[in-house]
């Protein structure tokens, strides 16, 4: 298994400090390093390119304004940016889901449409810069991988995932645990 190419996207925490100091060049450096991955994550979670663009704009606005809030002891800059992007995307997904549920309860024809979860295998095929990670994920049993990706990308709660997969909640929790521990091992392996 080759090391993941995530190192290519990482930047030094000092760059974030420069952004906090209003360094436009540092900000451009952060954008160039993170935008591809963050846009891909936003697109994966929100499904619509225009939504993903809006989200990316929000994320980088926050990075520019709140770079001083970045704490290096809590992770690398990329992890900070990924977490920020994911949380904002989940907020959007849950907001849309709430609106659709309200429409449905009002008798509208709208239907709750959780984001389409593309097949992990197909996603991995398209991600040339994440082959190593994909390789690691592919070592996971398919059902574990599916559950883990739903937990990470869909914004669904435990019970919603269980409902979507028609599985007991305990099974969902167990699969998530197994998948996360596998990822942890992968991360430790390449650290």
């Amino acid at each position: 298994m080759s090391p993941p190419e995530t190192t290519r996207e990482e930047i030094d925490p000092a760059v974030i400090r420069r952004v906090a100091g209003g360094d436009a060049q540092a900000f451009a450096q952060v954008y160039d390093a993170f935008s591809g991955l963050l846009f891909s994550l936003a697109l994966r979670m929100l499904q619509k390119p225009e939504d993903a663009e809006e989200l990316l704009q929000e994320v980088f606005t926050k990075i520019w304004k709140d770079a001083a809030s970045y704490d290096p002891s809590r992770g690398a800059p990329l992890a900070w940016a990924i977490t920020m992007t994911r949380h904002k995307a989940i907020d959007r997904i849950r907001s849309v889901t709430r609106r659709l549920r309200l429409n449905d309860e009002a008798g509208a024809d709208a239907e709750i449409l959780p984001p389409d979860i593309p097949q992990p295998a197909r996603a991995a095929e398209q991600a040339e810069n994440a082959l190593a990670v994909r390789g690691s994920l592919e070592t996971l049993p398919a059902e574990v991988r599916e559950t883990l990706e739903l937990a990470y990308f869909s914004g669904l709660s435990q019970s919603q995932i269980a409902e979507k997969l028609s599985l007991p909640l305990t099974t969902v929790k167990s699969r998530i645990r197994r998948g996360m521990m596998q990822l942890r091992q992968t991360l430790q392996h390449y650290a």
């Binding site: 995530t6 360094d23 690691s136 929790k173 645990r177 996360m180 990822l183 992968t186």
Partner: protein
Amino acid sequence: MNTEEREELASLYALGLLEGDELVAFQLALKQDPALEALVQELADASNLLAKSLPQHPAPASLRDSILQLAAPPVPAPAHECLEPISYAWAKLVPWAIAALLAIFCGFLSLGKSRSEAQITLLTKDNGSLQLRLAGLESERNRLETRVSTLESERNDLKVQVASLKNRDALKEVQTVLLAPQPGAPTGSEVTVLWDQRKQAGVLDLSKLPPPPAEKNYQLWVITADSPQPVNAGVLATDGPRAAFRAPRTASQVAALAISLEPLGGSQSPTTVFYLGRL
């Protein structure tokens, strides 16, 4: 909490899937268990591998420009480009302008002070002069008050004099007329009358008139210019030296007085005239 439970809860927490009581309990455990906290951090980092495994979709180029615009310094407006050097030049002149204004202001203050001092000196002099003038006026006032007092006194004297003169004029209206004895009158007798023409009254001096004979009276007559007949003015009482009388109202423009001897009680017209005098 066994190992599997710790890993399960830490995994769910790292993915943001813990809710309600489970979340609260786990957060409490996190605060008391640094190893658990480290595990959560590792799992959170590990979960990001899922994001890193995604096929990369570059963000639109236009989005880059839009986002990096956040950090771009504000572009000054064209008008500003022209005005800025001027504003800067003005800005440099501001302290000098303020200093110049202060100097001018101080000059005005100094000039004003000198003028004020000169005015104070003049006013002091004026004040002394006015004090002297006031003292003079006070003296003049006292003098005038004395003069007024004198004049008042003189006026009172003049009033007295005027009154005296008026009295003098009144006496002027009184004339002394001798009623001359006519034939048949007692020898050596005469009657004098003081006649006030304005009052149409008079006083007869009877000191030189002998008493009338028995059963006889002296009767006074008024002779007027417009009446051919003498007008009866009354029987004279001869018990005193003087007798006052007044001309009857019907007699106007008294021209003469006459006294006749008449029967007791008087007559309608004079019988024997003893004394006659023209006024």
